[in-house]
Chain length 193, copies 4
DNA sequence: CGGTAAGCGAGACGGTACGTCGCGTCTTAAG
DNA sequence: CTTAAGACGCGACGTACCGTCTCGCTTACCG
């Protein structure tokens, strides 16, 4: 008895509107950034009444979090055969997200708001951090198998340290070397290799 | 004699107004936070016309950066005789900044905006990070002298890693242990001690 | 059936707001006069957002012209049986308008602005001048019937002359006699009676 | 001995500044009109500090009245040998004042403010009306001498009626004939010629 | 199959804050 | 003691969005 799809009375919410709202939100986020992005502009861009947005979301945060979450985004789990190859892929994948304007805005937004807004922190965690942490754990496990790493390491803490330095490097970009080189140097130090 | 202090024509800007604006800005920042803080309210609180603020700053960022910069803040360079004692003092000093509301807001603000605004990044760097980096370097040097540390380490990079994990821990607070314990564990790992 | 009353989409404009705006405008006009009357004050007095006013009117002139026009004002067409009786009523009716503060302000405003603003001139013409001109024409016609007047006169031009002297007398009030006496003297001269 | 030119202590007021202020005031009056003309703009245009203006005048009215009064303006008293010739000259002289922008603004200003501001009424009276009234009186007197006019007329009242119709014609311009023709027709009627 | 109930676009509503302009006063140093 | 310059506290400007509220009009389902 699938009572799950119990239909409510009245006209159902339009999925077209959902899509249009998500799209408009992401476009505007990329173009003007979170702060300068007005609900009014989103509604106009999506060709939708403001009511239709406010019926779905009570706060701008919710709206944007949902829009970000709706983005299809694959995090590939690489296995190129050696540790540094895997790590480079992970770093690159994490970094290239900041290359298009939307990615930059999303990162900036997460940094800005994650600490205040569980909303965003959650989305960011499950959507971006979690998959990469898993990929990282797998890479480390494989490296141990290959005996590239012999010592016991706290993979989670190492991952956090690397995430931390990457975050820090975005906020205060290194001046004497490239971002990539800087991060690689940090990883070396942490992994003692 | 250089004519540096060449006086401009016209009535000079009021230093009283400067002070009042700084004070009102910091108070409101602590009370309602950066986003909800209106220029109008600052002017009212400071007993000053809006013009007087707009004459000095073209953007809210500038105003707040300047107000933060104007705060007298001593970063003591501790020397308690052993490495962990020194490190604990540094961590604590960095952490306790987030204890009063103003400190919390300032940190949140820096995290929020530093990546977008060179303005804030610069202030944060010279006012908060730089002194602590120096203190850290001294502590490491003393530890070497005492032979608590024998290996050669890249103190700057280590400092960045620690700063990074502290930042990361603010954005995604650890769930299974205290912030302090989390940071100590990370430092241990990085310093291999 | 013509589709004249084709209803626009969206929420219709509030007639309550219309009324409140008119009333507040007239009150403030009477209290402080046109120049010192701020849109902000009107909005506050009417319990209405500034936007609601700016949505309806692009200029203060328009707003005030509309408010004045909305005033119900009867111009009685007198017939007391002889010419001078009729004329006195017309003069009095025109004059007494300046007795309450609102009337004074409206007259002052029309005098001030009519030459610059077709807006006001039009309102004043159709609302105040036209009815009186008609009343005057009727009075003259009746006087001819009664043979109080024998010569042929250009009633419109005479009316303009009288209006002119009344205007002139408001701008440069006579010093040696009353306004009413001054106007009567002028009418005598023009009508050669 | 002539203590008239008793010199005050301190620096005397600059007559250059006086002239510059007058000139700037008249220029701006012509360009943007009385209402939109700001003291700040006058000071800037005149190359003068605001203080210098406020020291001389306490109100905008005073300033403008003084500037207008300072204008050199000749009202010629014509005598061309017959009444209508004289009258035409007077009408023309009065009318052509409204041809350049400054003239238009001055007339509009006088109409606007004369009834409220004795200041302006006085200036307008002595500077513009009085001379023309005298010219008119002379013309009438000469016409009597020439026996162009035989009846006794109240020249002052007639002048006021003509002034009135000219004012009225400026506020509500005649639509079926020229201003000049309209005024001539009115004069005919009043003078019964 | 016709009624009922929610969703929809549009856009007006009372507000708050924006950044600008001008007011009339004041404070400088220079003359 | 005046001057040019220009900062000051203040009040209003006209605009942009906020989140809420009507409108007339679809949609769907349910009895």
């Amino acid at each position: 008895m699938s009572a799950k799809t119990k239909s409510q009375p009245g006209r159902p919410r339009s999925v077209e509107a959902d899509r249009a709202i998500h799209q408009a939100t992401l476009n505007l986020l990329a173009e003007v950034g979170y702060d300068r992005m007005s609900i009014e502009a989103i509604a106009a861009r999506a060709g939708v009444g403001k009511t239709t947005i406010y019926r779905r979301y009570t706060a701008k945060e919710e709206l944007v979090a949902d829009a970000i979450e709706s983005r299809r985004e694959e995090v590939e789990v690489p296995d190129v055969g050696n540790l540094w190859g895997d790590l480079d892929l992970i770093i690159t994948s994490a970094t290239q997200m900041t290359l298009d304007p939307l990615g930059r805005q999303i990162v900036a937004l997460i940094i800005s708001t994650a600490s205040n807004s569980p909303q965003f922190a959650q989305v960011y965690w499950t959507k971006y951090l979690q998959p990469r942490r898993q990929a990282f754990n797998s890479a480390i496990a494989r490296a141990k198998t290959r005996q590239e790493i012999t010592t016991d390491i706290d993979a989670d803490l190492v991952f956090d340290l690397i995430s931390g330095i990457m975050l820090y490097g975005l906020v205060f970009p290194p001046t004497t070397e490239s971002y990539q080189a800087y991060v690689r140097r940090a990883i070396s130090l942490v992994l003692k290799i």
